[in-house]
Symmetry: C2
């Protein structure tokens, strides 16, 4: 397909070169998309003109490219932004596209020859898709805010509990125009106050609503941040390997450089400050201006929960190296391992005292994970501290260009941070729903990671937190050679074959970054406790067959 | 504040220059943010190193800048992305910030000395904030989808009409995981099918659900588009003046060039293809590669509704000049003028026949405007035709990086396109609500534009559509001189003074673009019919006093 598109463009470019009588030094060959070259000539000429160095040849190129402009395809893959073209986002790529095809075939009855009768999406932390029930209280309040007319119906409390009714009334009284109106760009003032109060309670340190932005999830935060921070390819961000590919994708989109640091798989995906220092020094020696460090805690895809001592070391390292710390803390409610607990980087920074008062930190949270799993809401917050007002005003302006985040999502974020309290009518149900989900996730985490770890040719760290197992694969040489032959990463090949054999959708480790030469995949442990047994059985059979076939 | 930040940075830069023994040719002066210079040195050195031309001096710069890195502020206004810093978004700027202060003062009782007792936000098309009621049926379905447990309650139809219950059941059956789960990146299949069917009905031409992306409103569409289309500053987009500043802001953010074309105020903000051609030729002669043309129809801030003949001329012009047409059609349900009607550019293109089968068009719609005004939902769609799959896959990837748009918003977009039908229980109420809002908007449009047009020193075209009046101001020289003295655009000065005197929040024409030397402001006609009389009275008094004071 690409070849078909490029052929005519190349022809035009060659015509142009002929017309120009080879006035440029660029060599055209069939491997170089010619519209780049055309375009580069045009740019060079334009730049020359702007700098007042317009030469006869540049003028000629300009005139020619203007004429040729009308002949090239308006928009095709050769003349789009290269960062947009090259960015990768593994969580939804080729495998997911194929999974949708299988699911469509099954739905339409065409899938009867498949070796599975349904597709199980373990590629993405999307709990409700796999049957997790939403928190009732949150949904009751959201429903009442959506259609407030029922608040005045005398029968409302026959369908909704009194505290949900009261909460909806309180929110609506404070949201000018209700959920259908744009709010302030940062979010509704009352909802930010509630989130701030909850952060204060969580950390034991003050939190100002002015430092909070209610967002459409962690993704927009990352866009605002990268757009603001990155000036060009020489600006880099220290990013964990493996990482959630939102970071690699936005670094590519906004033309920055990913400066990798590796988590130590053999130490339970632990962090080593000496290694961080080596990574920064190496990047600087190569000319990269390292601007920030991303930490995902609990880890995605790796599931580790950092100890406070490690967190302090990270903060001290960032201060010493003058890095903005970006704390992705969207799994803060997902900690399963005994003796482990989540501590926010905000608390770590504030505990370090006045010397760290100006320490720059952006921390992110989301309604998508935890025990609430409200992915479809698209909502989260970012807290910005230690960053001066001019820069915060740039974040605000970027948020303003999209006007505001969705109001139901803002409400949901406030509900997550300010749930029913002891004594309120919905408290017991809320606690039960929360503990049921977290208890079950914990059992599933243990069950899945130990089952994977027990396979020949697989090792898997326990998942201390988050929603994922990230097992390492020791794949037979014959399998790797086959993958290489068809131009696929071995773990991509493995995940594709797993989908074909089992209907289980996973993501290859190469999509997250891994130590070169190692292979992994990521799977959620979100299927229900019943379903996860089937998933384990199917993966086990698939894996053992594969090992036998290729060894 | 800036000076305070720059001073130490400059000192460090000078120290560096001293240490380097003036090894660069860059001249430092107090007007150049020194971190740029540091950074440029570092970039130059890095580039030299990458090209294998590492010289001793470049190595030295590299080492020095690495050391100095730890001394410069981590993130401040001098070392962020210049496009992010410079982008402007007038709809929420200085005036709105001041309006929020006034509103807060009034709320807290500190505003008793103000000459008004409330702030009226006419700066933004935010109908529900100003009291417009949402469409009941839409909200009922959304509420039921939020908390589906009530669907099984025998009393549900005492609170919600039967067709809302049925619609919610149907949507939930087709949305895997409900409103709390991520959908496919393009949006839920069934909802895209409903939107596609409605577009087919509107235009009388086929629409494929595959060509539709359900988005978080028109803003993300514009981000995807600009990110994909623009390779660098030499890529330009033909943009109306005046325009909705989403276009100028995203063009700046993604480092493209705005190629202005002016709407003819004296011809009711009409379009002139000869003028378009002049603008494109001029831009090309200056080295800009013009890639696309934006048309906002009905116009924002200008309110004109294009005739089909003009639309055809635009499409033919884009084909001739090889431009992607971007049709912002978010006001398609807001047409007031007798004899005018909205026709989509999709219909125009398809009516032109097979010669235009590959014509590239992106059209955008939104739930935020019309008679529904669901701004706080953040939802819309884009339809992409005539663009090949590789490029559509890039849009899809960009959408995937944010996973999906919010599901309640997706449902709302489907509801807007597929409302209750004759014979269904909610049809009558829906029709009444729709006609009430549109009838009232029409009366308010006429009332406001004619009142403004009748003022001395103001002329105002009728608003044929959309939600805005965009009157031209003929300001006294003395007033313009005063504005100049304080470094403000005259219309900015006017709008600020209007806010101070009346509490009415408007946006200066300079935020939208206007013929140099002319002055305008934009105001919505969204205050209720009662409130708009007060707004008119207050603006009239303010304006007449100002004209008297400065003439």
């Amino acid at each position: 397909m690409l070849a078909r598109i490029l052929a005519p463009a190349r022809k035009r470019a060659l015509t142009l070169q002929y017309l120009l009588n080879t006035s440029t030094t660029t060599t055209l060959n069939k491997h170089t998309p010619p519209s780049y070259q055309l375009h580069n000539m045009s740019i060079a000429a334009a730049a020359a003109a702007q700098q007042g160095h317009m030469h006869a040849s540049a003028e000629k190129v300009l005139r020619m490219t203007s004429t040729v402009a009308a002949m090239t395809p308006t928009v095709d893959v050769t003349n789009v932004n290269p960062n947009a073209r090259e960015a990768k986002y593994a969580v939804r790529g080729e495998i997911v596209a194929k999974a949708y095809e299988y699911a469509a075939d099954i739905a339409s009855g065409k899938g009867s020859n498949l070796p599975f009768d349904r597709v199980v999406y373990c590629n993405i932390g999307n709990p409700q898709q796999l049957g997790q029930k939403p928190v009732s209280f949150f949904r009751q309040v959201l429903a009442l805010c959506d259609y407030p007319d029922v608040l005045d119906n005398p029968k409302v409390e026959e369908l909704y509990p009194a505290d949900a009714v009261a909460r909806a009334r309180r929110y609506l009284a404070a949201i000018p125009g209700g959920v259908g109106a744009y709010s302030q760009s940062k979010g509704v003032a009352l909802l930010r106050q509630e989130v701030a109060a909850a952060i204060e309670k969580r950390d034991g340190h003050p939190c100002s609503p002015d430092d909070l932005f209610l967002t459409d999830g962690a993704s927009p935060t990352c866009h605002y941040l990268m757009k603001t921070l990155l000036r060009n390819k020489s600006d880099g961000v220290l990013t964990p390997m493996p990482q959630y590919p939102l970071y690699s994708a936005t670094l590519e989109l906004y033309d920055g450089s990913l400066v990798p640091y590796y988590l130590a798989e053999e130490k339970g995906w632990g962090m080593d400050v000496n290694h961080l220092k080596e990574c920064v020094d190496k990047a600087r020696a190569e000319g990269t201006v390292v601007r920030a460090m991303v930490v995902i805690n609990p880890g995605n895809p790796t599931g580790q929960v950092l100890d406070e001592a490690d967190q302090r070391a990270v903060v001290q390292f960032c201060k010493q190296e003058n890095l903005l710390l970006v704390a992705d803390e969207v799994y803060q409610d997902n900690v399963y391992r005994e003796g482990k607990k989540f501590t926010s980087f905000k608390k770590i920074v504030r505990d370090l005292g006045s010397e760290y008062a100006d320490f720059p930190l952006i921390s992110m949270h989301s309604v998508s994970k935890g025990f609430y799993g409200e992915c479809g809401r698209r909502a989260g917050y970012m807290e910005v501290i230690g960053i001066n007002d001019e820069v915060k005003d740039i974040f605000l302006k970027l948020a303003s260009v999209s006007l505001c985040s969705n109001i139901s999502g803002q409400i949901c974020m406030a509900l997550v941070m300010n749930p029913p309290k002891p004594g309120e009518p919905s408290y017991e149900l809320y606690e039960r729903e929360k503990n049921d989900v977290l208890g079950s996730l914990k059992r599933r985490a243990v069950r899945l990671t130990s089952a994977l770890d027990s396979l020949d040719g697989v090792s898997c760290n326990p998942a201390e937190g988050a929603l994922y197992a990230f097992p390492r694969l020791y794949l037979p040489d014959k399998f790797c050679a086959e993958a290489k032959k068809i131009g696929r990463e071995p773990d991509m090949h493995y995940c594709m074959k797993m989908l074909d054999a089992t209907g289980v959708v996973t993501v290859p480790g190469s999509g997250f970054g891994q130590v070169p030469g190692t292979h992994h995949f990521r799977t959620t442990f979100l299927p229900s406790e019943q379903d996860i047994e089937t998933v384990i059985t199917n993966i086990t059979t698939f894996h053992n067959n594969l090992m036998k076939e290729y060894s």
